[in-house]
């Protein structure tokens, strides 16, 4: 089974900064979008069980290869990075057109996307790609199983889950219920250095004369505001629940709140 995982490098959650133009500063350290890491894990398990390969597809600034290397270290075979200065500020519709055009240059049976991203959060790119490519679209997957010629997905619902089937090729958007992503092994990390990250410009995927990118955004960014400051906040991040509780109690006792 040939699987393409759509993977977006995003600013490390909690470290996001807005640039002077009101857009996210993408020069800060980037990580794999959380949901994408979960669908990558699901993709790796599928090819481990059924054979095949995982290809990563990203649209990002050229320097943003660290998260892609990490995904390759987890076990993806190769990566395709669509990068073009004209893409800065692209809207979700542009992004979908670019990724769909890139997918047309690849061979695949299944496209997996995370349910949404921690930076944009629109959650529409996967469905837009499926529409553009005339593929079935199965959303909110908590389990993905292939069968001859098709894919079966458990889709979470308000009352439990639905079981859906579709013919291949198909686009599936996955949730974190798919299961915890693995840590890249050291062998994987060292092996990832020799794996290919093929970069593609808009011209190379046949979109150079098409209205995509920041200049053609279908939505216009009017204003961006960070949440109002709430004074000093202390976040207790102890992994041991007892220690975390003790820290909170200490905090309250110190202030004579308990």
């Amino acid at each position: 089974m040939r699987i393409v995982v759509l993977m977006k490098p995003v600013p490390d959650p909690g470290e996001e900064r807005l640039g002077a133009d009101g857009r996210l500063d993408r020069s800060v350290s980037a990580v794999i979008n959380g949901n994408d890491e979960y669908v990558l894990e699901a993709a790796l398990q599928l090819v481990e069980a059924h054979g095949g390969e995982v290809t990563l597809l990203s649209m990002a600034p050229a320097g943003m290869t660290d998260p892609i290397r990490k995904a390759l270290a987890m076990g993806a075979a190769r990566a395709v990075l669509v990068t073009d200065p004209g893409l800065a500020g692209a809207c979700a519709w542009s992004t979908a057109q670019v990724l769909a055009a890139a997918l047309r240059t690849l061979e695949y049976d299944l496209v997996l996307a995370g349910a949404d991203t921690s930076d944009g959060g629109g959650g529409v790119v996967g469905s837009a790609i499926a529409t553009l490519l005339h593929h079935p679209y199965l959303s909110h997957a908590r389990k993905i199983e292939p069968f001859e010629g098709g894919v079966r997905v458990e889709r979470i619902s308000a009352v439990g889950h639905d079981v859906l089937e579709a013919a291949l090729p198909a686009v599936v958007a996955g949730t974190q219920l798919l299961g915890e992503p693995r840590y890249p092994s050291l062998r994987g990390i060292m092996g990832a250095r020799s794996k290919e990250i093929a970069t593609r410009t808009l011209a190379e995927i046949g979109l150079d004369d098409r209205p995509v990118g920041g200049a053609h955004a279908t939505t216009t960014l009017l204003d961006t505001r960070a949440p109002a400051a709430r004074g000093s906040t202390r976040v207790v991040r102890d992994l041991d629940p007892a220690a975390a509780a003790a820290a909170i109690v200490d905090f309250l006792v110190e202030r004579r709140a308990l």
Partner: protein
């Protein structure tokens, strides 16, 4: 959050491996550290994790399934693990120590037989040189290996053997020629711990590294094939010394890791703990403690990394570099962890916080693989030999 050491000198691979091991240390090892210490139980789950992630394969050649990492990379991994849990960092350090005689002098047949299991992490190997009356005076070993046809019969008792009770292989140093010069009396053997006559006669109760089993091993006419002798008869003492030249940086790395873990805990606490209406980190006396801790830790780290590079490039005074970095790092770990307890005040003395454990763990780095006094002897001898 473990502070990132200076990056310029590390390769991309070294940085990537260090970062990956730091992530594991933070997310998987640190939450287990207090329990490992309290229950004094070998963390089999973390051994498996290190095996699965390829960390135990770092020191071994790629052709046997290892990662063929250089000494600095192995030390970066030991440092990262030890910043969360010294017992867990020691799993890798002891695996390297036990295997070094094989890696330095083993035949291709021996490597083929023993190394794949070690690189995969399915087998652990211990290093058995020390005896009750042969500690700093390592050449005073009394365990005998007597040739009997195509085998040797090994008898005697080894003491203070890290992983002695969990390893499937033990590299044992035994006397093959009692009449020879003290540097030619010993030979090294790989002993499988399933061999009849091998037994664990005692487990020590220790002040620190409490999850790491330290065993007394009894050899009661254990029959070992000649094919398991590493190097020639009489090579054992020299091989043990060459092993320690290369393994001591691993202990220095453990020490640097412990120091960094204590510094991170103390700095975080100083920012949170409030007295007299402000965080204690705003008081200059506390700032002075933290700054000195950082300086000592970073100095030890940079010496360790330099020592690794020197040893890896085959410096003629490798033994000196190895002793220098263990001496400085062990003392730094002891001082920094002691100061970390001081920053925590009375709370630091409680096992609710990690720094008292780190202080107990730090002490061993001044004792094993040669006491600090032995390191000074090694350094001084190298200096005097250089000028002779």
């Amino acid at each position: 959050m473990t502070a990132a050491p200076a990056l310029g000198r590390l390769t991309d691979d070294q940085r990537a491996i260090r970062d990956a091991v730091q992530t594991l240390a933070r997310e998987r090892v640190a939450p287990r550290a207090a329990e490992i210490d309290r229950t004094a139980t070998f963390p089999e789950d973390l051994r498996l994790l290190l095996a699965e992630q390829g960390i135990l394969g770092l020191p071994f050649p790629e052709r046997f399934g290892g990662l063929g990492a250089d000494l600095l990379t192995v030390c970066l991994a030991i440092e990262a693990l030890s910043s969360a849990c010294a017992t867990t960092g020691l799993i890798l350090a002891v695996q390297e120590l036990g295997a070094l005689p094989l890696l330095l002098a083993g035949t291709e047949e021996q490597l083929d037989r023993f190394v794949p299991g070690l690189a995969a992490g399915s087998d652990l190997i211990a290093f058995a040189l020390t005896e009750a009356d042969a500690g700093s005076d390592a050449a005073a070993v009394r365990t005998r290996a007597v040739r009997d046809g195509e085998t040797y019969l090994i008898s005697g008792t080894k003491r203070f053997i890290s992983h002695g009770s969990v390893a499937s292989l033990v590299t044992v140093f035994a006397v093959t020629d009692p009449e020879a010069d003290r540097r030619r009396r010993l030979s090294a053997f790989v002993v499988e711990t399933t061999s009849p006559g091998f037994s664990v006669s005692r487990l020590e109760h220790k002040m620190g590294i409490r999850g790491s089993p330290t065993a007394e091993l009894a050899f009661d006419d254990v029959r070992v094939p000649v094919a398991n002798r590493i190097g020639a008869e009489g090579d054992g003492f020299g091989l043990a010394m060459r092993t320690l030249d290369r393994s001591r940086p691993g202990i220095a790395a453990q020490a640097v890791g412990i120091a960094q873990g204590a510094l991170d805990a103390a700095a975080a606490y100083a920012g949170q703990r409030r007295q007299f209406g402000k965080s204690i980190g705003e008081f200059q006396l506390v700032q002075g403690l933290l700054a000195d801790m950082d300086a000592r830790t970073e100095a030890a780290r940079q010496l360790l990394y330099t020592a690794c590079d020197e040893i890896e490039r085959g410096a003629p005074d490798a033994g000196r570099w190895s002793a220098l970095c263990k001496l400085v790092a062990g003392d730094a770990a002891m001082a920094v962890t002691t100061d970390a307890v001081q920053v925590f005040g009375g709370y630091g003395y409680l096992d609710d916080f990690p720094v008292e454990r780190m202080m107990r763990d730090a002490k061993i780095t001044q004792l094993y693989e040669g006491t600090q006094q032995i390191q000074r002897l090694v350094i001084a001898r190298a200096l005097l030999a250089r000028d002779a």
